[in-house]
Symmetry: D2
């Protein structure tokens, strides 16, 4: 049949711990409209779904209408693309297995895809960012948690049940630091947000050296990296140690995957050279010799405020179009 | 290794019979710079290659430099992606098998991919146009010639030797009109540019009915469709017959491929409803009943002046990065 | 977990119009056990499902037991892999959309896949037959009906809704012979079983030439090909005309797909050289010149009695393992 | 063209450190003929290529002839599928980059593919063994070395430059045991052949406990596992420690890949339960909780004497047919 209306826009949703951002995004990654609300206002999942659907409908009605939207993609912590569920997220208020895609589809009358943040960011960098044109690359999210997703032969590797990529819960040190996952010594507990802070605490406790970090009641990775810029030796040491561990895990990861590049994203990577240089140094020592000096270590080329909704929009395009009204 | 310079632009080249257009295009399909020159000025292939390379280098140097360009994609009549060659083009001045990709790579020190115009347009519509998000669709080019390319499971179907898609040289009528390919009765000789004109000539010769087409020395498909808009009955009949035949072939094509959509591109499709309505009518009669009323017939959503260089830029991203200097 | 029991066998089912054959098949295509029953005994679909499940369980219990079987694959007329349904088969007694895979899975407690006969044969030839190692090939079934399936980039092309491959219902002659699909002039009405017989009738009616075919009350394509072997000129002409039409459609098909080979299966192809030589002759005349002389025309290398259950076993491996008891 | 001769056999070659085995294998994994010779007799690569080609031609001529063979697949230590080369094998006598595929193709006039042993074994288990029907699985080779290959979305993951899978050279212990690769603390130096022996030496040196291992001048992993069967406590402890480390690395590996199964192959895995039970115990402790208890740990279901030539035969089918004589 002759089709005159083209559905060339999708909705990308970034379900973050604190804020939910949703945007209408076109084929080329332009945000047509965007809004957000606090995730934390909705401790009940039904209330959350209801609010999110209403807000999306509102945005869509104001920007071209239902007929112009093809589908919806959602980036969520512990989101599983194969089941469309949030699967036992440790940090979200909603427990157990949440059939997010099905609940949203019922409300919106549109196809809905769900993925975890690393998966979604890998899609985003592949479509619009640093990984464009790469068939085999690793994407790392280093923020509150430590997630990853890699592309194999041009497609995201999700694994048998959609749970692949948990490099952050590989063990760095037997009986090491306690991790939120219940295990000990996970990479996440050294390199993600709380890990960086714990390293700072340990360093401060182990020496008397003066440091701008001392006495700061609300120390953050961001503050520490600011102190690095001001030349604070202990702060620099915090990121040097973090980078050393990060380079170690990435070197091992790369020996297994042989990626064209590793794309680093997430708040911790904002520390820039303070993190990247020691990471790179250890990386090259650890990685198997046949690819030494040959793996690109990159940061994301997408802007922070669009990275996740862009990635979620790519996810939206991956599901078959569906409409209640046909 | 830490990589600071990202190659996020490519060069897309549209080698047309009359004009060669080349543009620097970024990841999201934005043209950074564009220029063109007459293809016909270079009847010698070495002179052509030399000129094209020089012009590309010039454009690149003026817009970010060699280090900012990842690779080059070229849309060419009879271009074969698997060999990188122009393969015996009937209408280009350069005869035989021309190793276009290899010759250009040697000149530019960059990876070069070559594809034919239907292949390249299919890539373009998939990345930036009407076919975005579709895994199985057919793209048709209906201009001087009648080419096609379809996507299967998310990838372009090129065939064993890269020659797939020659629907235009399927036989419509045994011992029918002579075709440039040497066969008789090919679809191309009915639906492409010359075919439309021949249908007009036949109609004019067969009746005395007055028509704006009569006495026009340089009749073109475009003029005929203008006359349709003015209510010329014979002109309308030209496109009705063309559409009837086009619907017939597309209905058969769709029964074999079961595409989500058929995207029509090329000068002939500018006739709009004069062509599309009869095409659609016959299509629905001919197509196998299980998909009747379910295949979208679409036109390209890309602008004419960017369609081919955009598609060629997508092609450029499909080859591995290569640089003389590493 | 350490897994000691390996499920290295599947059940392949060939649901034919007259006979249903089911076999336990191992990884390498060896039939471990096989049995059959008349499909026609079960005009009610529930009774059929019930009987088929019982017989499969019986065969499985006698040959290694439930724990040794991974999954089940079923070849069925009008079987749709994407939905698991028989979709409006014109010739089976069960009308409408039959959720065959779901019904069988519920009975057996095992994953079940369904495909149409051309799809299943393409899988069988790819895994164990003439198409092994080919990424792009066409398989044709020429028996009661005229089906096809082609592989693209190493995977079967099923199309957007699983309905691809209906070359037999492409139109050969506008307003030609009536076809079971409701259209007129379909290839099936010329080249499949009834088409061959109709050609014979037309030839016999059009001349007085003596022929062994005359006066045979129950003429079959097989008998006609036997008469060819005995030198019967009209019988030979029947297959010459059939081959001429078949070569025409395959030449056009090949121009679009550019396959490495075309594999011919089905009862009609038993006529051997009487069919193949005229097919080949027309094929080479019709096919686009760039692949003339380069497409292999092959017959199946699998034995008739195992072709469909083997193919169905390959289909069985394509679905995820599932067991009621875990 | 009508093709009567079908090339339904290939040659699979296992280039081992000590012995080179080559076999003619058919589509279903049946060995038609097989022979071998000592690799060590040919310290010069040209002499080796010459001898291997001659022996293959000899075997082929005696078993159906050149026209019956489609292509050749070779399993080699450090074999790289993407380049067709042996890439700087530390243990083979031929140094540097050896263009094995090109050299063999020139001699044989047939297409030749090369892969490393883990890649080839993964193909073999996928086609004929324990991994049949699995889209995402890990294969491990634990013998002299410690290699691996995993399948992603149904295809072997080879990585950007074909070097993926080097899990054996991931670091288990910083500044740990010296490894042949030049690094320290690699998994290979703990879990592969020499690692098991070193663990035995260390255990024997650290205690006075009597053991059958004491005083054996030519201790091998095989002997140690025999002693386990005889109840030798220290021997059992050797494999318990090996398994503990192996379970640790596999648990981490599985958290990243989320495989359906891990297939263990290689001489060390012959120790059976002495190795597997402690491996499994640590695996379940280490692996990320969402897949705990859900990854199958399997051993190969292929016979030792056919595993590598079968896998190499699968590799042979992956390249396009090529013949000198057409």
């Amino acid at each position: 049949m002759i089709q005159n209306i083209l559905k060339q826009k999708v909705v990308g949703v970034d379900l973050g711990y604190e804020k939910t951002t949703y945007a209408i995004v076109d084929v080329r990654g332009n945000e047509v409209a965007k809004a957000d609300f606090p995730t934390t206002d909705y401790p009940d999942i039904n209330a959350y779904i209801s609010h999110l659907s209403n807000k999306i409908v509102e945005l869509v009605e104001a920007n071209g209408g239902y007929e112009s939207i093809r589908s919806v993609g959602i980036s969520s912590p512990s989101g599983n693309y194969l089941t469309g569920c949030i699967e036992y997220s440790p940090n979200l208020p909603w427990k157990g297995q949440i059939p997010l895609a099905a609940m949203m589809r019922d409300r919106l009358g549109l196809a809905v895809a769900v993925g975890n943040d690393a998966h979604v960011r890998a899609l985003g960098e592949s479509a619009f960012g640093s990984a464009h044109g790469m068939k085999d690359f690793i994407l790392v999210v280093l923020g509150h948690g430590f997630g990853s997703c890699f592309f194999s032969n041009g497609h995201p590797h999700l694994g048998y049940a959609g749970f692949a990529g948990e490099i952050g819960h590989n063990c760095y040190k037997v009986d090491g630091r306690s991790c939120g996952c219940g295990h000990k010594g996970c990479y996440e507990s050294y390199c993600a947000g709380r890990g960086v802070l714990q390293t700072a605490e340990e360093l401060l406790a182990a020496s008397d050296e003066p440091s701008l970090m001392r006495g700061v009641s609300d120390l953050t990775p961001k503050l520490i990296s600011d102190f690095c810029d001001q030349g604070d030796r202990l702060a620099i040491e915090v990121y040097r140690r973090t980078g050393e561990i990060l380079g170690f895990i990435l070197g091992n990861y790369a020996s297994v995957i042989n990626p064209e590049a590793i794309i680093l994203t997430g708040g911790i990577t904002k520390a820039g050279k303070w993190l990247l240089e020691p990471t790179n140094e250890t990386f090259e020592k650890v990685v198997f010799h046949n690819i030494e000096g040959k793996v690109k270590i990159l940061t994301s080329s997408l802007a922070d405020e669009e990275r996740d909704v862009l990635g979620a929009s790519v996810l939206a395009w991956s599901v078959k179009e569906y409409s209640l009204f046909k």
